[in-house]
């Protein structure tokens, strides 16, 4: 195997399956011309997995599409497998396999029919099909489901079918655009093992883009993109090695990790701080070991141990150089002291709630409660029933059975005024796309009855606090995703709610924006706002006070993050991560899953 040891400066060779030379691409949105890629020189080597990493809007999808001939570059040249991707795209397309972000499965066709269609499109001769299909079905585990409609498959199975369709005629080069987004950890691991196998057994070259930074470490070679520019290329270790001596694991007895993290982030010379397990991971700018007392004078008995760097540390520190942190300090403005601290009152109660759609149970008899001032997380893959639960809590959907109450009332039956106490941010970006930032804020403020000076002040507060001041006249559809998400949160907070519902707020948002986001949630929680949040990022569960792990409409486990991880402790895994815990929970429940 061509080793990852080679440096970042290797030049394109015979062995390169993708070569980009001086490639630029521009898009026009509204009246603005945006550079998706700027003068990129890059290559992808044969026979390995190359990861394309970069925050949202870095140009990953544009690069993928240009490599398949779906977009033509505005400048420069793209050569795929020795063929010019722009002029000979038909010839080139016969030798590649491409799986777009939303893979185009025909949902009203069965698994087998989808595979046959792609076999036809790729002109796989009839006699070669049975063995190939069998191989793919075995590999993806879709064998038992060949006559099921693709629309009825789970998210993970859909992705695997998409992959199988891309592979009906083994391509020399496989391009996968964010294949693991929104897929549960079990399916994610399976997808990766398939990709490894393809490279190993069929000698395929793979270019894969991903938003999960831990996946970068599974690639042989990593290409780092930011704002349309290439920041670096090399094996993952070549990124993390230079971070040696910058990374530590910190904990302060008797101090909440969330608070500790927040405090650390505000210290000078700190590049990054994230909650990781029961400790806080700290990345310093310099290599000089920090003095605990100098770092946080208030923290007593701080334990600080150096740890091995990982790819994410390098990624954040590279990005931080180009984008300064925008974490505003303590005072979060209008969300004030009506509510202080955690209490034992249960502000949200869910008892035996279930929800049927036809004969399909989206939520099966779930029971949990949320204390006032808590950050409560619902963790699970797409389709686990998290959003349905949320919609029932917000009064958007009546439960088929069971009881639920929010602040003592069922929002579906309560008078309209009761809704003034909650803030809701729904899954997709759901603000009025052709209204400007300010118009959106004004509208949502007014619907909550704000007016005159209060309205003006709150709009001003939101623009400042969420760093939207420079964009207030831009229509919200044109905002980058991270900004959209900030605006959505600002709209949900305009009226100073007691309870905040956030449905998948960090989906598709880059790691830096996610850090900023969680920082805001922490601050709100410190001020006594109850926050309920859903996520499919396992590591984000660590930020929650307690959480419910959901799968296929059921709650698999309920408790603090530590309690949930404790369930997965075994001889092999003395210190399981949340993802390990999730996978072990799923496999424990596997017999129950099969029947559903």
């Amino acid at each position: 195997m061509p080793g990852p040891g080679q440096s970042m400066h290797t030049v394109a060779t015979e062995d390169s399956v993708i070569i980009l030379e001086g490639v630029s691409k521009y898009f026009v949105t509204g009246k603005r011309k945006i550079a998706a890629l700027q003068n990129v020189d890059m290559f992808v080597r044969r026979g390995i997995i190359t990861g394309l990493i970069g925050p949202d809007g870095a140009g990953k999808t544009t690069l993928m599409r240009m490599s398949t001939g779906l977009l033509a570059p505005d400048a420069g040249k793209i050569t795929i497998l020795g063929i010019d991707a722009t002029s000979d795209s038909l010839l080139m397309e016969a030798s590649i396999g491409y799986m777009p972000q939303r893979f185009g499965l025909y949902e009203d066709l069965t698994v087998m029919e989808n595979m046959k269609l792609y076999a036809d499109l790729h002109e796989v001769p009839e006699e070669l099909r049975p063995p190939r299909f069998e191989e793919l079905l075995h590999m993806t585990g879709l064998g038992p489901f060949i006559s099921r409609l693709a629309g009825r498959l789970s998210g993970g199975m859909k992705q695997k079918l998409g992959l199988a369709c891309t592979l009906v005629r083994p391509p020399q080069l496989l391009l996968l655009d964010e294949p693991t987004v929104g897929v549960d950890p079990v399916s994610r691991r399976e997808l990766w093992s398939i990709v490894y196998r393809l490279v190993r057994e069929e000698g395929m070259s793979v270019l894969l883009s991903t938003a999960y930074l831990d996946e970068a470490e599974r690639c042989n070679d990593v290409i780092l993109f930011h704002e349309g520019r290439l920041l670096g290329q090399g094996p993952p270790e070549s990124f993390s090695e230079p971070m040696q001596g910058h990374t530590y694991s910190v904990s302060v007895p008797g101090m909440k990790n969330r608070v500790l993290q927040g405090d650390l982030l505000r210290c000078p010379d700190v590049t990054d701080a994230v909650v990781q397990g029961d400790r806080v991971r700290l990345v310093m700018e310099g290599t000089v070991p920090p003095e605990p007392a100098a770092l946080l004078p208030s923290a007593k008995n701080m334990s600080l141990t150096p740890v091995r760097p990982r790819f994410e540390d390098a990624f954040i520190s590279i990005l931080r150089r180009s984008r300064p942190v925008s974490l505003k300090t303590a005072d979060e403005g209008i969300v004030t002291a009506a509510h202080t601290g955690t209490s034992d009152d249960h502000i949200i109660e869910v008892k035996n709630v279930q929800r049927k759609f036809g004969d399909f149970y989206a939520v099966k008899r779930i029971t949990f409660s949320v204390k006032k001032g808590e950050v409560f997380g619902l963790l699970g893959a797409n389709g686990a029933g998290k959003s349905t639960t949320f919609r029932m809590l917000c009064g958007l959907l009546p439960p088929s059975a069971g009881n639920l109450s929010v602040a003592g009332v069922d929002l579906r039956k309560a008078p309209a005024a009761a809704r003034a106490h909650i803030g809701y941010m729904s899954q997709k970006f759901s603000l009025y796309g052709n209204l400007s930032v300010r118009e959106n804020l004004r509208f949502f403020g007014s619907t909550y009855g704000l007016s005159g000076r209060t309205l003006r002040e709150n709009i001003q507060w939101a623009l400042e606090r969420f760093d939207l001041g420079d964009h207030e006249e831009i229509t919200s559809a044109e905002l980058p995703l991270g900004h959209k998400q900030r605006l959505a949160m600002a709209c949900a907070l305009m009226h100073n709610p007691d309870i905040l519902f956030l449905d998948e707020p960090t989906s598709g948002v880059d790691p830096i924006a996610r850090r900023e986001f969680w920082h805001r949630i922490n601050t709100l929680a410190e001020r006594g706002v109850t926050v309920m949040v859903t996520t499919h990022f396992m590591e984000e569960a660590e930020y929650c006070d307690s959480l419910a792990v959901m799968s296929a409409g059921e709650i698999l486990a309920l408790g603090t993050p530590a309690e949930i991880k404790a369930k997965a402790v075994s001889a092999d895994l003395p210190e399981p991560t949340m993802e390990d815990a999730f996978i072990s929970l799923i496999s424990d429940n596997a017999p129950a899953q099969k029947t559903s």
């Binding site: 919609r391 917000c394 009064g395 958007l396 959907l397 009546p398 929002l411 309209a416 005024a417 009761a418 809704r419 003034a420 909650i422 809701y424 729904s426 899954q427 997709k428 970006f429 759901s430 603000l431 009025y432 796309g433 052709n434 209204l435 118009e439 004004r442 509208f443 949502f444 007014s446 619907t447 909550y448 009855g449 007016s451 229509t475 709209c491």
Partner: protein
């Protein structure tokens, strides 16, 4: 309450009109359609193309044909010389009508016998055929009266004098153009409202609206106002165009007309919002609007009289707000109908509006998906 409604209305307007393309969809097609349809939708025949096969050589036949030549309704396209030429000239649609005068025509007339003239009409469009036939009858009747007078003969013992009230020259444009007010107002209102909720559901913003303290009544008013104001201005423009451009007489009372416009808009908005809140996606909303629009237009009496429909379908049209609005429009424009004569049209519109708006308001929150 009014502040929230105002905020919602402003938002709806911004969402609708900020985008240049959707602004165009609301403004341009109705105006183009008004002009094109105002001229195109007519039953009046001008210049009926006709051919003559005259076997008679006398003066009487020439006098009769002079009546056709002198009429503004007819224009001669061919003089035929044999019976065999009649068929192709009609088949090819060169002539709509052939006048065949046989060789004994003048002789019969001078002998005091009834002379015969054969009129052959292309019946492919039965309405056109009937009109042409009526025009021809009128000319022949005039000839008869003149002949009797000139030769001192007694006319028939009784004769018909016809007067048309409200539209003495029987211009069908007077009938169609007020109908277009209803047609285009309905189309625009449906386009605006039928998608307003469906679009928000699809984009997820509707959930966001439902969790705010907006009450159903406030949402209905906020969602209705833009469609109402746009429909109102659109209707006003078309009414003005009908009077000033198409010169359709306006005999009635403006207030009576606008009572009708008001109630019609409310019922159209109610139906639009109801379709919109049943639909999950914009496509469904559009399809729903379309499936309502097509029968609503065709079965409204806009082009063909409701009275000509079979009883079952006539009863079905009672659910159609367009039906009532057509009566109001034409009544007020051409007949100067008074308010109390139209009460029978107003209350069904009001009933449709109340029912559909209530249903829409209920569906906002109770439509499950």
């Amino acid at each position: 309450m009014w502040r929230r409604i105002l905020a919602l209305t402003i938002k709806e307007f911004l969402a609708l009109l900020k985008d240049k393309r959707s602004r165009m969809v609301v403004v341009v097609p109705p105006l183009v359609q008004l002009l094109v349809f105002g001229y195109a939708a007519t039953y009046d025949l001008k210049n009926v193309p006709y051919a003559v096969y005259n076997e008679d050589t006398g003066k009487a036949s020439r006098d009769l044909l002079a009546g056709f030549r002198g009429s503004p309704n007819f224009s001669e396209v061919a003089l035929l010389s044999s019976e065999g030429q009649i068929e192709p000239v009609i088949d090819k649609k060169e002539a709509l009508l052939v006048i065949h005068i046989d060789s004994r025509f003048s002789r019969d007339l001078l002998l005091g016998r009834s002379a015969r003239v054969q009129i052959i009409v292309d019946g492919r469009n039965s309405n056109t055929a009937m009109l042409a036939q009526n025009y021809a009858s009128t000319i022949i009747n005039n000839f008869n009266t003149a002949w009797n007078a000139r030769h001192g003969r007694a006319g028939p013992p009784a004769y018909v004098t016809t007067r048309a009230w409200f539209n003495p020259n029987l211009e069908s444009r007077w009938f169609i153009v007020p109908g277009i007010v209803g047609l285009l107002t309905l189309v625009v209102t449906m386009m605006v409202t039928a998608l307003s909720v469906a679009r928000e559901r699809e984009q997820g913003t509707f959930d966001q609206l439902l969790v705010t303290p907006l009450r159903p009544l406030e949402m209905i008013i906020g969602k209705s106002l833009p469609g109402f104001l746009i429909g109102m201005s659109e209707a006003t423009v078309i009414i003005l165009a009908a009077v000033l451009w198409f010169k359709v007489p306006f005999l009635g009372n403006v207030a009576t007309l606008y009572t009708g416009v008001f109630l019609f808009l409310l019922s159209a908005i109610g139906i639009g919002l109801m379709i919109s809140s049943i639909a999950i996606t914009q496509q469904q909303g559009l399809l729903g609007a379309f499936l309502f629009l097509v029968p609503a237009i065709i079965l409204s009496g806009f082009t063909t009289p409701i009275a000509n429909m079979p009883p079952l379908i006539q009863e079905l049209t009672l659910l159609n707000p367009m039906r009532y609005f057509m009566v109001i429009l034409r009544g007020v424009f051409l007949e100067g109908m008074s308010f109390h004569l139209l009460i029978g049209q107003f209350w069904p519109l009001a009933a449709i509006a109340v029912t559909t708006l209530t249903a829409a308001g209920w569906l906002f929150r109770h439509r499950l998906y």
